[in-house]
Amino acid sequence: MTRPPKPSRDARDVDLDDEIRTHLAMAAADRIARGEAPDDAVAAARREFGNVGHVKEVTRETWGGMWFERLLQDLRYAWRSLRRSPGFAAVAIGTLALGIGANAAMFTVVNGVLVRPLPFDEPSRLVIASYEPERGPFVRRPGMDEATFLAYARSARTVESATAFNEVQTTLTGVGEATRLRASSVTANFFSVLGVRPAFGRAFTPEEGAPGHDAVLIGDGLWRSRFGAERSAIGGPIILDGVRHTIVGVLPPAFDFPFGAQVWLPITIAVNPHETRLRPVAARLAPGASEAAALAELKSIVARLPAASYGESEHFIPEILPIRSVIVGDVSRSLYIFSGAVLFVLLIACANVANLLLMRATTRRHEMAVRVALGADRTRLVRQLLTESVLMSSVGGAIGIALAFAGVRALVAIAPEGLLPRANEIHIDGFVLAFTVALCLLTGIGFGLLPALQASKRNLSASIGDGGRAVSGPRSMLRGALVITEVALALVLLAGAGLVARSFAQLRSVELGFQPEHVLSMTVDLSPTKYAAAPALHGFREDAVSRLAHLPGVSSAAAVNWRPLGGALIKGTFVVGDGRRLKNGEGWASKPAVTPGYFHAMGIRVLEGRDFTSADRASAPGVVIVSAGVAKRLWPGQSAVGRLISMEDHPKPTDWLTIVGVVDDVIQEGLRSSRDAAVYSPLAQLNSAFFLGHLNFVVRSSGEPDALMAAMRDAIHALDDDQPIASLGTMSNLISSTIAEPLFQVRLLTLFSACALLLAAIGIYGVLAYLVTERTREIGIRVAVGAVPSDVVRMVVRRTLALTVPGILIGLIASFGVTRVLSGLLFQVKPTDPATFIGVGSALVVVALAASIVPARRAARVDPLIALRQE
């Protein structure tokens, strides 16, 4: 910087002072020359000149380019003025730090999950193409069958390239303890479509999709945890599901697409007439192609294909979705709700600080009047006051960022596993900082503008005259309005939190149909290579169950292939032996397969007939047990026992199975779904590896769960220590983990509404405390003319209710509209649940009255003599 030095503000100020001083001196000299007395002449010259401070001020305005100096001056002044009232500053800045910090933390999460670019090349050109049944038997997520994918990848012109992938699980052995890994089967061009290069090694070659190749890529995390981050791992072996593969590449850190995969296996998509699988398809749009054009083309391609039909649904929907939809899923809804909640907290904080400023303005009225007398015009005062409030919000924001650092870490830590996708992307970056700075400026102006306009509007002679004594009027109305707003905002937030909490309580009290207490469960996926055929699978299961049954403290042990609330289940159709055609849905049920003793171990009531026994083996006649739902649906008022059903669509005589018992319906899918109708088969009578290889062992015991869990693990490892054990825990804990997301929502919303409640209480307290101070004289007079303390207390309580009740009413009306956004989250609770609304309304009244205790007591103790002498 070698510009000629600009005259500094100070030098220009000195010049201006001199200029005016000379003007006054000359004017006085002229008057003296005309014969006036020197003293009178000086005074007259001054009078004629007018307000020196004002002239200087308006002259300085024309200088321009000095805004920075002026800002510094305003800042210095603001800083001094805050230093002079540390109590006020601490409360205001603390409140703002809380509000801004919460918003910065939440925005950090939103930024990481929803905003930050995905780890792909040109992510804006990547889309998910889907052609899915509108209403299938399973949770809808984007997917496309093989024939459609092949046609689409071959003929689409709006798409440069497309890849199909699906989620698989695989068992890693040979390096450390056997473990289940998330993996993905992907077409060989997967990485080139996404535009991702391995950090080391190479991606798949086009031939590697075909059978006979053993190439896999692994994720950075797996490479570090199991392969010591050694480059030599590339080209080396990895044992997956008992099969040796060769690692050809390691992906960059943070790349775990899709579904948190750590292993990528190549596949070739081919049409199989017996089995169809819907896989998500990622496509890279051709340069210049729009999503709309891609959708139009997808529609025309599927229209040319032969009609497909699966299960219950005939209607397929072609869709082009943003690639984020596969990654982010449902969490965006929660994040938006949380963001709304923290915004409410910030609004309440702003209202609170605005209120503090209004009260402070009363005590500063004298200062303002003096500044006006010294020549400051209104714009100048407003700017000064706004500088002060922005300074406060900035200090608050700086502390808030520090809070956000801790808050983000805590948030990610308490978020249930897998709820926050891209968790490694969640950190405070430049964008978050910019957001926070903008937020500071906005809040500073937001809460500062009204008080600044109010404070600068004073009639100056009145203020200097009365030395700053209180007059109630528009200003106290404004304060009241702010508190009412705070109460209303807090109520909306509390209502939201209350609804989510009630919904969570409903989820917790759902009738499961089984007794999870004292049940432990673990999942074992048997290696499809080592346990390929039914005899090996039967052998392992029977050995395992008998070992588990003999563990100390175990009263019964059993196995089921897909357990209730295990995240997956098998559903299917069946037919009945009396030749009836089953209407829509009647022949549809979940189909778990179990060992004898399963119902006892799980605490599922056997309503009629018998449990399976060890006699129900492969060679014995086929039997099933149905749940009450099936029995009631098909044989209402009659016994189901002894009737025949078959799982085959066109059963041969040997396919008929006899119902030997009826058990209670249980919740299978999730706590939010209803209890499922089920048809249970004995595992011993099945022979498909698919139904036998995935096992959940359940054990009922009265013993210490921790010791027993270790013993259960040992029992399985004693049989075969290459088989991975997953989801080992008490049934109650396993169930809780399925409602971790609503629990997280409850915790966060409760935390935010507690902040809101606290701030609202501080707001109410502040206004009441000020009211009592303001009216000390009035209270003194009242007491002097015979009011007793209880009258005084009643006055304060009346004022409290006058602030709270309208706030609650407005809040209730607003809640009716706002809580609707929660309807998707709520379970068996209406967004307008009256009990919740009444509950939170009463809670607010109680909190408001609690906040009024101290001011009320102070009012009751006013001594009329002292109060009146203050005059």
């Binding site: 010049d15 201006l16 001199d18 200029e19 005016i20 001083r21 000379t22 003007h23 001196a25 000359m26 004017a27 000299a29 002229d30 000149f49 007018g50 307000n51 004002h54 002239v55 308006v58 002259t59 305005e61 024309t62 200088w63 321009g64």
Partner: protein
């Protein structure tokens, strides 16, 4: 008293700048001198408010129509003296033309006889 009333003639927006430039045509002057001269030349009917004069001087200086120098008075006080620049002279010509057009126009309006039927 009448002078008091007269002194409250409100100057049209921008007119003060013109008057200041015009005043400086007679030679460099300081702020007080300018105010006195305007007053004298208007027979005391224009009394320039210092709160307008000084901002105007500083504004004109920024526009480079006038320049300021420091001088020392007989009483050894620092005096800020303003003078017209070449650009200021040009501007003055422009302002004068505009002013003459305006006064002519207003005079024209004022001289128009009342329309028929209005009385």
């Amino acid at each position: 008293m009448s002078k008091q009333a007269l002194s409250r003639i409100e100057l049209l927006q921008g007119t003060l700048d013109f008057i200041v430039l015009q005043t400086l045509r007679w030679g460099p002057r300081h702020g007080y001198g300018i105010a006195q001269m305007i007053r004298a030349n208007s027979n005391d009917s224009l009394q320039v408010d210092t709160g307008s004069l000084y901002p105007a001087l500083h504004r004109l200086e920024r526009k480079k129509w006038i320049a300021a120098d420091w001088d020392v008075s007989e009483n050894r006080q620092r005096v800020r003296v303003y003078r017209l620049t070449a650009a200021g002279r040009k501007q003055l010509a422009v302002e004068r033309t505009r002013w003459e057009q305006l006064t002519a126009a207003i005079a024209g309006v004022m001289r128009t006889p009342l329309a028929e039927g209005e009385s």
